[in-house]
């Protein structure tokens, strides 16, 4: 069963229907978080065209994420990055059987509503796009469509879950081909989970409530998460993943799955690389298979990575203090 910490039973996104006098419930935490559980141990790939989406599906991706530009191209182009063209999203939805996600700007309620109306399977409130509101994220409980958010720490993850996020991913540093930040973020979340678990086990409620104030979230969600010893929603790795070995390493750190952004379709061997990253994610704990996957790609075809310390734009800081 699913842990439903922080669940709001009166959320506007929950819809009670009667189907031929049978009661049904849509948009509940079970249904929204449950969707993310079906993606576990899988790879979600960023795509910008129907052709890329089909390559992703053939490679064994569990879902595709539609963007106007890949994160690395967003970096180069500068200016304001917004949600993708609805026509392209619809064309992709009509051409693959796997779920289709799309990104909206942080805090941009109506971009998210447009994506919900388009019927995408999940919305990513993403730091890759230019934030519409630096101080407020979307109140995601109002949505029947599940929403995923990025996080660099346990505090950020719990803040997003309290706003109604049905899934969390690390932020990493998108569009860099540099996996270091994603590793840093998942290790930080894991560390902090271990800390609150040991505080909970020792019965020190005084310390737990202090942590909740530091995290800027309710005591309840900290207590429930501490009791579980893990996030109450599925947690993927994202941001800078470019090779099969990157994916396998993040899986070994306890991530539930992988998002790959620019790493695949910005390389010169997209088809092979897409397949290889799926293989390495599935068989991450079998070193011979990860080696075979890594052998499928050519390092000379990999996207040129960026040093995170000299970046002009750090996407991960967007919306991070809110």
């Amino acid at each position: 069963m699913l842990p439903l910490s922080g669940e709001r039973l009166d959320a506007k996104g929950i819809v009670s229907d009667k189907l031929n006098s049978i009661d049904t419930l849509r948009g509940s935490s079970t249904v929204k978080r449950g969707f993310a559980h079906m993606l576990k141990n899988g790879v979600v790939m960023d795509v910008t065209t129907v052709e890329q989406a089909q390559i992703a599906e053939e490679a064994g991706a569990v879902s595709v994420m539609v963007l106007d530009k890949l994160p690395s191209e967003v970096r180069k182009a500068g200016g304001v990055a917004r949600t993708a063209s609805i026509r392209i999203i619809e064309d992709i939805m009509d051409s693959v059987t796997i779920p289709v996600m799309a990104k909206c700007r942080i805090g941009h309620v109506n971009e998210a509503l447009v994506l919900q109306e388009t019927d995408v399977d999940m919305i990513d409130e993403s730091e890759v796009l230019t934030p519409a509101d630096e101080l407020r994220h979307i109140w995601k409980w109002d949505f029947t469509t599940p929403v995923v958010n990025g996080a660099r720490s346990l505090a950020e993850a719990l803040r997003r879950i309290e706003e109604g996020a049905s899934m969390i991913r690390t932020k990493g540093e998108p569009g860099t081909g540099n996996v270091a930040e994603a590793i840093k973020h998942i290790k930080k979340v894991n560390d902090e989970l271990r800390t609150i678990k040991s505080i909970y086990d020792s019965g020190d409620n005084q310390e737990l409530v202090r942590m909740s104030r530091e995290f800027k979230v309710s005591y309840d969600i900290v207590e429930q998460t501490a009791k579980l010893g893990r996030l109450p929603v599925v947690n993927f790795a994202a941001g800078g993943i470019a090779t099969p070995a990157d994916a396998a390493y993040l899986m070994s750190l306890g991530c539930d799955g992988i998002f790959v952004g620019s790493g695949i379709f910005n390389s010169d061997d997209a088809k092979e690389r897409a397949r290889a990253i799926v293989l390495a994610t599935t068989f991450w704990n079998e070193s011979d298979k990860v080696k075979e996957a890594q052998k499928m790609i050519d390092e000379r075809q990999s996207m040129i990575g960026l040093d995170v310390n000299t970046l002009e734009l750090r996407m991960q800081d967007r919306g991070g203090s809110a």
């Binding site: 031929n20 993606l39 569990v62």
Partner: protein, 205 residues
């Protein structure tokens, strides 16, 4: 002799099914091990198997790659009980059509003679919870969690319909093979996992 039930660990909600199976086994007081399995060698040791929810295209392609699809089919045909959930039921079918895309050429196990429609109830926004019943296996009320769920539009003469939701078939059975469109592992109710564990136990004793 203790029995071993495996959860196919290629992609999807493997842990959730292992937890539900362990709860079911505790409640039944049986001596059964629950393991996650992926390789043909591990699969060949099993007394029962659960194919979990996930993406059927991914599970199909990758179990074909590592050679487990072939041994799965042989084991099921020789009588090993199997519970296929959502993507797992799609894997057990002989033809899968997507509601929008039409016929798919994804790798399938071809065990159940059923006409299956993927994403039958619509996309994620239409995913829902509702009570259903499986009277013929003595589960009169069960909470069904349907996530981008498939449904069965027609069954062959040897396939029993276990449950319908709004005139659509959502659970089927043929001998020791069970398929459901909904996710028992996302609820606290272990009734279906208990039924399955009992089926494994009976097939060995």
């Amino acid at each position: 002799m203790s029995l071993t039930v495996g959860v196919l660990s290629i992609q999807g909600d493997v842990q959730e099914n292992m937890l539900s199976s362990k709860s079911a086994i505790d409640e039944l007081g049986l001596d059964v091990d629950v393991v996650d399995v992926r390789t043909p060698e591990d699969i060949s040791q099993l007394d029962g198997l659960i194919i979990p929810g996930g993406e059927s295209t991914t599970i199909g392609q990758l179990s074909l790659v590592n050679g487990s699809l072939k041994i799965l089919k042989e084991k099921i045909q020789s009588g090993m009980p199997v519970l296929g959930i959502c993507a797992g039921m799609i894997m057990l079918s002989n033809t899968a059509n997507d509601k929008i895309i039409g016929k798919t050429d994804q790798p399938l196990l071809d065990i159940l003679d059923i006409k299956l429609e993927r994403n039958s109830f619509g996309r994620q926004k239409e995913s829902f919870e509702s009570d259903i019943s499986m009277d013929s296996i003595n589960i009169p009320k069960f909470h069904g969690v349907f996530i981008r769920a498939p449904s069965v539009s027609d069954v062959g003469s040897d396939v029993e319909v276990l449950s319908k939701f709004n005139e659509r078939i959502v659970a089927v059975k043929k001998g020791n093979v069970i398929g459901t469109a909904f996710h028992p592992e996302l609820t606290e109710d272990t009734a279906l996992h208990k039924y399955f564990i009992n089926l494994v136990n009976k097939s060995k004793n």
